[in-house]
């Protein structure tokens, strides 16, 4: 018998070039976005993305708590990403951990670069992201949900912020990793795009890929983000029962 550990690694890519769930390399998992799902929040959204389920709620602009965080020239954006104990197979220890603190921070910073925070001095815009079921890519799903929730809350922004992860699996650059691909793949590259300007406001990487692969991965991710962007706008139109309009510019 050979290596026992190697037997546990699933075949990530079929000889036909299809992935575990039958997707092509550049194919997203199914996404459903619903805006305005919570009554108490100023804005909210629910995202089902593959086997991820994420809820986001936005409150504000409102009084800052704790007070010392108040900025007298702009709103502060406070983000709390949390994963439910039941979101993964093995019970996750509930509460703050290093991972959730990091994700909260990078998502808050992504929004800081799109929200017109100067319009609401001395206030706070509070973003809560709850991951109810996780299957890789929850920071992107959370960011997408929170972005739709911010728009639902009427917060002035440069644009919505679509996000997606790209990665390297079985030597190939693939879009939107699922859990097995994330666990057994060679690299994971979550990113968030501002479609209006083409700027990336979140970019992280784990694993290894060559410079050439990175370039291709970024291109693939931008394409994926634009796809998600359309669905985000669709969710908001549905919420406000608006007939489709072309483009984002007036």
């Amino acid at each position: 018998m050979g290596n026992v550990g190697a037997k546990d690694v699933p075949v990530l890519l079929s000889p036909e070039g299809l992935r575990l769930d039958g997707r092509r390399l550049d194919e997203l998992r199914p996404i459903r976005i619903e805006a305005g799902v919570l009554h108490q929040a100023d804005g909210s959204a629910f995202v089902e993305w593959g086997q991820n389920k994420v809820m986001a709620a936005v409150y504000g602009p409102r009084e800052v708590h704790p007070r010392h965080l108040q900025q007298n020239n702009k709103a502060v954006i406070q983000c709390k990403y949390n994963m439910a104990a039941f979101a993964v197979d093995e019970r996750k220890r509930p509460g703050l951990d290093r991972r959730s603190q990091e994700i909260s921070k990078v998502i808050a910073e992504a929004f800081e670069s799109v929200v017109f925070a100067e319009e609401f001095p001395r206030t706070s815009i509070d973003v809560y992201i709850e991951v109810l079921q996780a299957n890789a890519g929850t920071r992107c799903a959370g960011l997408v949900a929170a972005s739709v929730a911010l728009a639902d809350a009427g917060i002035p922004m440069v644009d919505l912020v679509p996000a997606v992860a790209v990665g390297k699996v079985a030597g190939q650059i693939v879009l939107d990793l699922k859990k097995e691909e994330d666990n057994f793949g060679e690299a994971d590259l979550p990113m968030a795009l501002v479609p209006q300007s083409g700027r990336l406001v979140l970019l992280q990487m784990e694993g290894h890929m060559t410079e050439e692969e990175l370039g291709r991965a970024l291109d693939l991710g931008v394409k994926g983000c634009r796809d998600i962007y359309d669905r985000m706008k669709g969710a908001l139109r549905e919420r406000y029962a608006l007939t489709p309009v072309v483009g984002g510019s007036a």
């Binding site: 602009p61 639902d152 809350a153 644009d159």
Partner: protein
């Protein structure tokens, strides 16, 4: 085109910064938000609740981005320093008017003026501030319909806070109607729908549609009146009088 409210400009192009409806009034393009918190405007009459009591002022939650300080000089009462909590306490509801807005985001409000004061009893409900014009209706038609069918007293704040007083049944029916308006804000013919609903749920059994009686002249509202009138009530144009605490 120049960027108006709700928009921004980059490289000669104007983009929407909020979710809303575009309208063009040359040379401006602006976007009217469909959602969002109440953004205070000077002159607005709003319903708020007391969140903090200081020696010379109260802080009011008027559903705006900031709490609004109400100074004791901005009330109809003669108050000594330190006696503020004998007049308004945390949780009390009041009707105030937005007086001035500072660049710091501070919202100055006053409770001195006709139709302003403390609200006694009743219930507060919230609707989206974007729905207030629908709640009032053209020339006050919606609020007139509601009060005529329920006998409730209603105070509408531009901030989306609405105070209702009357029998428990009246309060329940008005709340239900406000929920309908909040959820179907973009639908036309809402006033008729609301009227049909109120008829079918009348406590003494459904009321047959009747010829709409013309209100007496003193109750009639001119159509050129602003829709922002905060008051509607069974007693017509007279704003409800507020009892201040007997001290």
């Amino acid at each position: 085109m120049k960027p108006g409210p709700g928009t921004y400009r980059v490289g000669g192009k104007v983009y929407a910064s909020v979710l809303g409806l575009v309208s063009t009034r040359p040379p401006l393009v602006h976007v009217t938000p469909l959602s969002g918190r109440y953004i205070p405007k000077a002159g607005d009459v709003v319903v708020g609740t007391v969140t903090d009591v200081q020696t010379t002022f109260w802080l009011l939650d008027i559903a705006a981005p900031r709490w609004a300080p109400l100074h004791m000089t901005g009330t109809p009462w003669q108050i000594d320093v330190g006696e503020t909590d004998r007049y308004l306490r945390v949780g009390d509801a009041v009707v105030v008017r937005v007086e001035n807005l500072e660049a710091t985001g501070r919202i100055g409000v006053t409770m001195a003026g006709e139709g302003l004061g403390k609200l006694e009893g009743g219930t507060l409900v919230r609707v989206s501030p974007a729905r207030i014009p629908r709640v009032v209706g053209r020339g006050g038609s919606m609020v007139e319909t509601i009060t005529r069918h329920t006998g409730a007293r209603i105070a509408i704040g531009q901030n989306g806070r609405i105070w209702i007083d009357g029998s428990p049944e009246a309060i329940r029916r008005v709340s239900e109607v406000l929920r309908m308006i909040d959820e179907n804000g973009q639908r036309s013919g809402l006033t008729q729908e609301v009227e049909a609903y109120l008829r079918s749920t009348a406590p003494d059994g459904p009321v047959e549609p009747e010829e709409r009686r013309s209100p007496p002249a003193h109750e009639r509202r001119r159509s050129d009146e602003p829709d922002a009138r905060p008051w509607g009530g069974a007693d017509g144009d007279t704003p409800p009088s507020f009892r201040t605490e007997d001290l």
